[in-house]
Amino acid sequence: MSEKEIDDVTGVATTGHEWDGIKELNNPLPRWWVWTFYATIVWAFAYTIAYPAWPLISSATGGMLGYSSRQEVRAALDAAEASKADYVTAVAVASVDDILIDDALRTFATAAGAAAYKVNCVQCHGSGATGSAGYPSLNDDSWLWGGKPEDIRLTIAHGIRFVGDDMTRLSEMPAFADILSETEIGELAGHVASMSATPSTGAGADLYAANCAACHGDAGEGMVELGVPNLADAIWLYGASKEEIAAQIRAPRHGVMPAWQDRLGETTVKELAVYVHSLGGGQ
């Protein structure tokens, strides 16, 4: 580019580039623009001195202002904790029943309980609390250990058959494989399967009265104090078919639920109880 080409119309020098006959004028940038550009450079240097920026081998320069993203996160978390501190304190001192009748407190506890549920409970009871074979649904109104708010709280706090918690819920059904013959187990299972509709009579009913009524009740109504399931309702933890019932008579399976009080603390357990109670089946 030895010679400057001057554009006829504007009297401005061109850059010498040409695209399909169009030439670019070599106008200078507006001055305010140039100065803004210089200012950004100054800003960039100042910024890298003030804030953590330059990567070193195992860390980075710390900056002059003592800024740390971890600190910011911690501060934000602390602020979030502080903002709900009033509610948390109120939940901590109130009983589950009291929480349920206080609109604001119940709304808070339900939301907190829902969050805790999603972290700790969905693995067994499912994301919609519908349970599955061996894991009770928490939506329905059939409760092995009681569906009152306080019952639910106790179950969550101390677990079911959980070794390591003295107050855990305990009960065990004997295995009838050694006591009854295979035929008797079949007859008994047939009777139990009929109990939720029209109870049968005959050998199965006699076997039931002799072996089962002591715990499950004459009409199969169960016993909440000992976690004995109701056999006359529509809900079956291990299946409603005769075969599944027979298997349960032969060698009962017993679910185990951990105690959560030590892990989550009293407050969270209360919140969970409120949430579970609000799922619709609470008594």
């Binding site: 106008n27 349920l100 119940r106 109104d141 309702d233 529509a234 619709g280």
Partner: protein
Amino acid sequence: MTAFDTSIERNAIEQHAAEPVNAARIRQPLYAPRRKIFPKRAEGTFRRFKWLVMLITLMIYYVTPWLRWDRGPHAPDQAVLVDMANRRFYFFFVEIWPQEFWLVAGLLVMAGFGLFLVTSAVGRAWCGYACPQTVWVDLFLVVERAIEGDRNARIKLDAAPYDARKLALRVSKHAIWLLIAVATGGAWIFYFADAPSLFVGLFTGRAAPIAYITIAVLTATTYVFGGLMREQVCTYMCPWPRIQAAMLDENSLTVTYNDWRGEPRSRHAKKALAAGDAVGDCVDCNACVAVCPMGIDIRDGQQLECITCALCIDACDGVMDKLNRDRGLISYATLADYNQNMALATAGGTSAIDPKRIRGRDGRLLPGITNVRFTRIVRPRTMVYFAAWSLVGLALLYGLMTRDRLQVNVLHDRNPQYVLLSDGAIRNGYTVKLLNKIPEPRAVIISLKGLPHAAMSAVGINEPASRKLAVTLEPDRLRTLKIYVAQPAAAINGSVQTFRFVVEDPSSFEADSYTASFEAPQP
């Protein structure tokens, strides 16, 4: 030679040394600095109309937030209030929830059609009279004239070196401009909070930071746009005139220099007449250029800078009055009329403009000559715009009168869709949202319509399951309820049954309903 004597008083007309900023003969290279404009004070019909519009628009802007409107104890008493925190918009007797924002969208559609209508009828009237830029520039010019004097004094002051007097004048001018700018920015925030308490809060330093930031930003834009940039905003920044220009047609009124009667213009009519030359009405006094706030010469024809403020019409009419000539050498005229008159003055375009062709023996314009024909405003195009504008307006009005003040929205639980209960019954869960859109508390009743054997219960309401539920609603709030509906096994006759949640206010007879589905396992 015409019968009237043009020599009288022509020399009494003041000649203005005014150069239009955009004339081709003085066109400057790219990146040229702005040519300063010193608009002269105009007097006349349009100027008076502009004062009136300015007064009304400024009054509306500054006074509106201070109007009170009693809505009872549960709602704010400000007539016009944009309550961002609670997401409510109050406009006198209308209260808008976010769901009803279609009303605002409808108003914007009306504004669009309104622009089509007004522009196709009377040209860029918005630019010339009602645009905030025009109004505030006018206001700033009032201050400038009061302090520095009219056009010639201002030109002289601008050219003079800085001395104590100039400094004092300039400082006081900018100080008053800034004061106006602060008041402008300050007035805006009152639309968003209770005006009297915010006013006190502003001065005691307790107002929200956003209030101060808004004032600062609007102060800066008002001062810079209205005081410093003025016509450059219209010419270089504003997209509005580009849109408006596309809506003009040959029947739209625009400010027009009627060269068919003004040309050939002459400063020395007497000499020209003596020489037997044709002489038009324009005495080339440049009064129209001197008063133009955009700094243009309307005699160069239609140009994008023109905001049709009509101050040049006022200036020219004043000159015509002095000359005892017909007004309207510069006038609002349509292109169609202009062409018709032009054809007459030029013998259908075959000759040069000859003023004699359009005048009678007495020197007056022929009766067939018209500058302004307001009947042109009513024509198919404007009627269509007006019809569309009215239809949207009526639809909005209908929507406003019939909209629900009590509403129910329902979300069916998805996980689980249904729950088997111990007695074999099936239960579904619903999140029911009740919207009480009036600023009064209400007692409403939710009931089930359909599913004759179903019953419902709500979390937090300790009532036995039934088909009716009494609920209280807070004023102007949404209440969310978790409602469970259960049906005995025998009543379920399919995997999906539909029914309705009905919400009623027994005292006002308002009601709303929502059709929901009840889901059950496949039989």
